[in-house]
Symmetry: C2
Subunit: 287 residues, 2 copies
């Protein structure tokens, strides 16, 4: 059987994804994509990027002509077997055996490995990485919470009958927590949508019923000519949104921006955490 390319493995995932988001089949497709991406990237050169973000180093993959997006050197693992280790721990409900840092690195590597493959094989394709990232995060949260997500919620509000399109919602059942999970590769000024959706859920269903826990890859921006990497952050605006629009429970990042991480330390804090942390704290988040 010919080896799968990252794209052919992605097409398999796309076909099967919605049938059963948390399925072992989806987990295997994600592993195949990671393996095929690592195989593709291992043949390429890398170029160093000048990081203007303190305490972070970035590089990019290149085939001599095209240059990929920025890759965080500390987070990226070219080790497909790590996916299996993580999935076994997840299946055995032994995630606590892995630390948050290790989990974050594995998931970051699956996402960014495939993104770099797309950067180097397709021109200007923003949609495939965004959709893949939704599949990856949706599947992992569904496995951890042991429930498949919904993407529409009914609004029964006297005479107004409608459904509300949402990002992923994981409903743990009657009298249990519901998670509201927007998934984005980066946010910039569009982030206000995340708080606004949370506000609508609070208003329609009651404050506190949905725990808002968005998952974001990172906020880096690369100047490809200068080969410089920066992070674009709006921390004062985030604080205003958290005070005046709605309350998010956590904001998870794979490559957590330095500026946003500091929001944990001010009062009132905004809880911005590496995504690996979710797998350790999911059970106590509602408390």
């Amino acid at each position: 059987m010919p080896r799968k390319t990252p794209l052919s493995a992605y097409v398999d995932l796309q076909d099967a994804f919605a049938t059963d988001v948390k399925s072992v089949a989806n987990q295997q497709s994600l592993g195949e994509i990671f393996t095929a991406s690592c195989r593709f990237l291992s043949k390429l050169e890398t170029v160093e990027l000048r990081s203007l973000v303190s305490s972070k180093e970035y590089f990019a993959f290149t085939d001599g002509t095209r240059v990929s997006r920025a890759v965080n050197k500390r987070l990226f693992l070219d080790e497909p077997t790590q996916w299996e280790v993580f999935c076994r721990a997840l299946a055995a409900k032994k995630v606590p055996d892995l630390d948050a840092e290790t989990i974050t690195r594995v998931i970051y590597s699956v996402a960014v490995g495939f993104f770099c493959y797309i950067d180097l094989t397709k021109d200007g394709d923003q949609k495939t990485p965004g959709t893949f990232f939704e599949y990856l995060i949706g599947h992992l949260m569904a496995r951890r919470l042991d429930v498949n997500p919904k993407v529409r919620l009914p609004v029964l509000n006297l005479d107004l009958e409608a459904t509300l399109p949402t990002d992923f919602v994981f409903d743990l059942g009657p009298n249990q927590a519901k998670f509201h999970v927007p998934v984005k590769t980066s946010t910039r000024e569009r982030v206000i949508q995340v708080w606004a959706h949370q506000r609508v859920l609070d208003g329609v269903y009651g404050t506190g019923r949905f725990l808002g826990t968005p998952v974001i890859l990172g906020e880096t921006k690369t100047d490809r000519k200068k080969r410089e990497v920066i992070e674009i952050c709006l921390p004062d605006q985030w604080r205003i949104y958290q005070m005046h629009i709605a309350q998010l429970k956590r904001i998870y990042y794979l490559d957590i921006p330095v500026t946003y991480e500091k929001l944990n330390e001010v009062f009132p804090p905004l809880s911005v955490k590496p995504f690996g942390q979710f797998f350790l704290e999911a059970d106590i988040l509602p408390t």
Copy 2:
């Protein structure tokens, strides 16, 4: 002196715009852009489009190769002199001599005339039409309200000192109304941002101090292969945003979508009006 092209007149507007948004110089540049766009378009063929929107007819301009966006047949006037008539009425504060419909048609024609010129001379340029539309609406509202807009507001909130970037804000002075005016060529699912920004202004400055009056061109979408025009509307979501995020005072359109116009007739109503109406009712909006 060689005649100005729409683009050279636009560059003049761009250079001068922010110095004095409501200036006569900006008004003249807008008139020159309209005149030059009409001159350009008058040499072109038009093609009929199949309108799937009841009671509206659309066509497009074509140079044989490229096809412009959809143009509303009833609204588009190929008459640059109408701009002068409108501006004279505006200057003499005699806008009531013109009806809302006529004003809407003039402003629609200035906007869409230039958009079609850009569609036919530049590939995939979304930015220039969007910026031009902001200039056009910003200038006209500034002239009508006789005050220039701000695009940043200070947030003085105990220990948090920051400025909030906003769309246009027109501040009529102490103890007077302030208008919050997002300007968009279309909204689709991004519209939630408009309500979210209004919520932030209500929260930071107090409910009722800013009148939210977004101005939108239209919500048409053209299938260029089938040559069909549809309107993309989310009326149930709008009602939920108005109930649960914040209250907008008016939503002004140049090409008002049929579905949204009907929101005036349900309870609680959402006040969706042709933009020409603003020039007649601006003085009584705060009451």
